[in-house]
């Protein structure tokens, strides 16, 4: 009974009762701070107070460290207590009740139902989904356990079950996980199969896509805040499950079929072929042959992936807003993520589409810097393919190339998430394979350490020189998933290790590999990003490699990379790992300039209004440009960065929202310089990787009057990628652009495309054309 009689001991009561009261309160507050309980806006003042105290007082910092240690210890100790499990009888009873639950469509919240674009079609889709799900579950009878296991695996399954049922369960589990893999080929089988337009699956699936986009929309009226506004929401997307794993993966390139993880690579091998010029049709045809359709079970799975809302940059009148300021972004994660959706035959949620990351995914042939500047800046103006009257300005940066073998010595600390959620073929096994690619190329000048984090964190590989491949590979091989995630202590340990082995003038970098699901212990997102922010001041850079799907926290990871002087890539298969860690290893690892900011001043006599395409979460205040304390993006060796502005020429109707003339001020008259044919002046600030003071580059840009067709192929291709992004976002600025038009533009400007990335893009546009239709 004493549980009902908890001693109520409010904090202020304690203050009076104990001589140490004051100190107790402070420590309680500090504990709350460490646990991230003070991260909300409402605690801002209190939080700042504590942070001030921490900055000033050695004793406070010592206490904070004590608290952190005891939190970590407590979390780790409690993680050793076994979780419980229901009995078979319990599960049967629960499953009975679930099975007797109402028809799905009727229990969907009304507000969501209204948001289906086509109610009838939606209902049909729901019925079909129900039929599929029922056929999955109902006849399985006593195999409920394995069903549950598949839905969201729990490793403690069924101690009370007989052995063979457990065996089935784990088989089912691995099937399920494989089916969950991002680019399961059987979807292509469906895509091919539906050419006849008579496939019964076709209509409902499309409908589900449409409604997925609808559901993914935010309710109106949520204020947009830069960077900080993360609202997780649910999207649904179809995933098909096939029973036969071998069938699902098609021809194995790597040969070994015994190892489930080799199988993943085999699936990716298909993609290599694709990029190398094999036609997608041929490949999926080949898989069709292997896929035993009678065994394929349709299954609609759903997930909870987190994306930040993107509010597109509007058109701005040059007279009111002559300056536009933003930070560069070399991340490419959004492209890989969008590709995953399209390969699953679904349009991505709008907010998963960051146009700048799509554009920057591709290599462009920009001239490198002639002098020893870290990068070259180019600007060009041509016609705009989605708005015939407008002009398109391309700003292009090219980082100095560094030969990987001549790169500075590297001190790398891999921080690897080994929590239970990483226990999926496209997470930890792919991660190991990816890191092996990188490790293979390191030498005795490099140092590698490995920190894992889950319920507890630990250094599994102390900093080791790169020539001791066997030791490193051994440590990598031994990683296994288990436990829940506590990012904070792992991150501290990783940065500590990086600092201890700091190489002056070299590459010092923590590489965080995770699915981004930080959910236990001393961690909330705010505390974690603040931690990264603090650690990043130590000239140790951060790379975030995102893995997996289903519960992928895109927003969380991008924000970590942003705060941590870092870059962020999404690794969905081994090819992508190869691109990020081998082909572009220089760019990923070697930062050549940091805090790169751009500011454009437009000439009101030449330009009426402008709009920056993408970079929504990279916008800076105009004042921030000259403020060296303001953090901005990094550029790596060989990186290219591309940004597009859509310009409305002076004299044309401005699409910017009109503002009443000012009563107390007169509009500023254009200066003499405005009479020139200069369209804008481009200013760029950057810092050397270990520098504190920024350098300035300026250049004026003129318009030679080129049409879009006269622009170079890179310009045209990049613009078609941007246009694709506008369509995927269903942007209000997409004009009369269609997927078909993007396909035409991209195909015409594909160029040499040695690695096949552009061919892959063209394939994705075709996918979108097949899936989307409406947009």
């Amino acid at each position: 009974m004493n549980r009902d009689q908890h001693t109520q001991m409010p904090a202020d009561g304690a203050e009076h009762s104990s001589p140490n009261g004051r100190q107790e309160i402070d420590e309680a507050r500090l504990t709350a701070y460490v646990l991230g309980e003070l991260s909300g806006e409402e605690h801002a003042a209190e939080r700042e107070g504590i942070e001030r105290e921490l900055a000033e007082s050695e004793a406070a910092r010592a206490t904070e460290a004590e608290i952190r240690r005891s939190v970590e210890l407590m979390t780790a100790a409690l993680a050793t207590e076994p979780a419980g499990a229901l009995s078979a009888a319990n599960r049967e009873r629960i499953e009975e009740k679930i099975a007797a639950n109402e028809v799905p469509a009727a229990t969907l919240p009304l507000s969501r139902m209204r948001r289906f674009r086509r109610p009838l079609a939606a209902a049909m889709a729901a019925c079909l989904a129900l039929a599929i799900v029922s056929s999955l579950y109902l006849p399985r009878g006593n195999r409920t356990v394995s069903t549950l296991e598949g839905i969201a695996h729990f490793s403690e399954a069924a101690t009370d079950e007989s052995d063979n049922v457990v065996g089935e369960a784990s088989q089912f589990k691995s099937d399920f996980h494989n089916a969950m893999k991002a680019h399961t080929p059987p979807q292509k089988a469906f895509a091919t199969g539906k050419k006849s337009k008579s496939s019964g699956l076709d209509l409902p699936l499309r409908t589900m896509h449409g409604s997925a986009a609808e559901l993914a929309e935010f309710p109106p009226g949520i204020p947009a805040e830069k960077n900080s506004h993360r609202v997780p929401y649910t999207i649904n997307k179809p995933v098909y499950e096939t029973k036969s794993r071998a069938a699902a993966y098609g021809p194995s390139v790597n040969g070994s079929v015994d190892d489930p993880y080799e199988l993943d690579l085999a699936a990716n091998g298909g993609r290599v072929g694709n990029r190398l010029g094999g036609r997608q049709g041929e490949l999926s045809e080949g898989r069709d042959g292997l896929l035993d359709r009678s065994k394929a079970r349709g299954y609609i799975a759903f997930n909870t992936e987190g994306y930040s809302r993107i509010v597109e940059n509007p058109f701005l009148e040059v007279r009111q807003n002559p300056l536009s300021t933003f930070s560069i972004d070399v991340d490419t994660a959004s492209y890989a993520n969008v590709r995953r959706f399209l390969n699953q035959h679904a349009l991505p949620p709008k907010d998963a589409v960051r146009i700048e990351e799509l554009v920057n995914y591709f290599k462009y042939d920009y001239a490198p810097p002639a002098d020893d500047a870290p990068f070259a800046v180019h600007a060009e103006i041509a016609g705009c393919p989605w708005a015939p009257k407008h002009r398109l300005l391309r700003v292009a940066l090219k980082g100095r190339e560094i030969d990987f073998n001549n790169r500075p010595a590297s001190n790398l600390v891999f921080l690897i998430d080994v929590s239970g959620s990483m226990d999926q073929p496209n997470k930890l096994p792919l991660l190991k394979a990816a890191l092996r690619l990188l490790i293979d190329r390191l030498s005795e000048n490099d140092r590698i350490a490995m920190v894992v984090y889950a319920g507890s964190s630990g250094l599994v590989l102390p900093s080791t020189t790169g020539d001791r491949q066997a030791v490193i590979a051994g440590a990598l091989e031994q990683l296994q998933a288990g436990g829940s995630t506590n990012g904070a202590s792992g991150i501290q340990l990783a940065y500590e290790t990086a600092r201890q082995n700091f190489i002056r003038g070299g590459v010092n970098r923590v590489i965080l590999c995770t699915d981004g699901d930080f959910n236990v212990g001393a961690t909330d997102q705010g505390a974690l990003t603040r931690l990264i922010e603090t650690e990043a001041k130590s000239d140790v850079f951060l790379s975030v490699l995102g893995f997996g799907d289903g519960n992928y926290k895109d927003a969380a990871m991008e924000s970590l990379a942003d705060r941590g002087n870092g870059n962020y890539a999404y690794i969905d298969n081994l090819n992508e790992a190869h691109k990020v860690l081998v082909e572009q290893a220089g760019g990923t690892l070697v930062t050549i300039a940091k805090d790169v900011k751009l500011q454009l001043e437009f000439n009101p006599r030449r330009v009426a209004a402008y709009r920056l395409v993408g970079y929504e979460n990279r916008m800076l205040r105009n004042e921030d440009f000259n403020d060296d304390a303001k953090d901005a993006g990094e550029i790596g060796a060989g990186h290219t960065v591309t940004a597009f502005y859509e310009l409305v020429p002076a004299g044309d109707d401005s699409p910017a929202a009109p503002v009443d003339p000012l009563k107390y001020q007169q509009t500023v008259e254009p200066s003499e310089a405005a009479a020139s044919d200069e369209v804008l002046i481009l200013k760029l600030r950057y810092k050397e990787p270990d520098g504190a003071e920024s350098k300035l580059i300026e250049s004026v840009v003129k318009d030679a009057g080129r049409s879009f067709a006269q622009a170079d192929a890179d310009f045209q291709f990049a613009a078609s990628v941007a246009g694709f992004g506008l369509l995927l976002r269903d942007s209000e600025f997409k004009g009369d652009l269609t997927f078909a038009a993007v396909l035409e533009l991209a195909s015409a400007s594909r160029g040499a495309d040695e690695e096949g990335y552009r061919a892959e893009f063209i394939g994705l546009v075709k996918q979108a054309l097949a899936v989307g239709g409406v947009r």
Binding site: R3, D4, H6, T7, M9, A11, E27, A28, A32, A59, A60, T63, I67, S70, V71, M74, A76, A77, L78, P82, A83, G84, A85, L86, N90, R93, I94, E95, I98, P104, L108, S111, A129, L130, L148, I151, A152, S155, E156, L215, A301, F302, N303, V418, S419, G420, S421, Q424, V452, A454, G455, S456, L459, G482, G483, D517, V520, D524, G550, N551
Partner: protein, 187 residues
């Protein structure tokens, strides 16, 4: 942790069961002192979940589950006259052989010591510690589950952590310092 949040209620229910089963049974067993009863309590909790309007649980699912589970467990304990149930150190909950890696024997010993110290704390402190560090609930959620005020939750957590910290320190320095002058008292 993998968290599917399917759109069809059935799949959603199944995913919730899968996701919370382990931690709820463990939590309930602490209250009932008996794994079998804990399982039944959790079963009832999930059966009640089936009758809930999902939209209403949006954003407070964990709190709802723990609240219902706690209430049921306390009911059971009361009915069974297990008011002063002695809670066994190790409950036979599941044959879970999760072996965390990099766990050296020394670390395991330390963890055992921490758990032993935790077991010596008042029950309400133990409970908030478990809800926070084992179930990952926020202060606010714990407050909702237990009926304690948010500041009280924070206070209890702080005291629990500090006590464990100090006693560990005392043990490790084998009485060389008094609890009052131990590691946590720098300020």
């Amino acid at each position: 942790m993998t968290e599917n949040s399917p759109e069809t209620p059935r799949d959603w229910l199944r995913s919730v069961v899968a996701r919370y089963e382990g931690s709820l049974v463990r939590y309930a067993a602490r209250i009932t002192g008996d794994a079998e009863r804990a399982r039944d309590v959790v079963q009832d909790t999930f059966l009640r979940l089936c009758e809930q309007d999902r939209a209403e649980l949006d954003g407070r699912l964990a709190q709802w589950l723990y609240t219902v589970c706690r209430r049921r467990a306390l009911d059971v304990r009361r009915k069974e006259h297990r008011m002063q149930a002695t809670i066994p150190e190790r409950l036979d909950l599941a044959s879970d052989s999760r072996n965390g890696q990099a766990d050296v024997a020394e670390q395991q010993e330390l963890h055992q010591a921490v758990l032993a110290l935790l077991a010596g704390l008042p029950e309400n402190q133990q409970e908030v510690v478990r809800l926070k560090f084992q179930s990952g609930l926020s202060y606010r959620e714990i407050s909702g589950v237990t009926g304690l005020s948010v500041s009280n939750v924070g206070y209890l957590l702080h005291v629990a952590l500090k006590t464990v910290r100090q006693q560990l320190h005392v043990n490790s320095t084998s009485g060389a310092s008094t609890p009052g002058a131990s590691a946590g008292d720098h300020s």
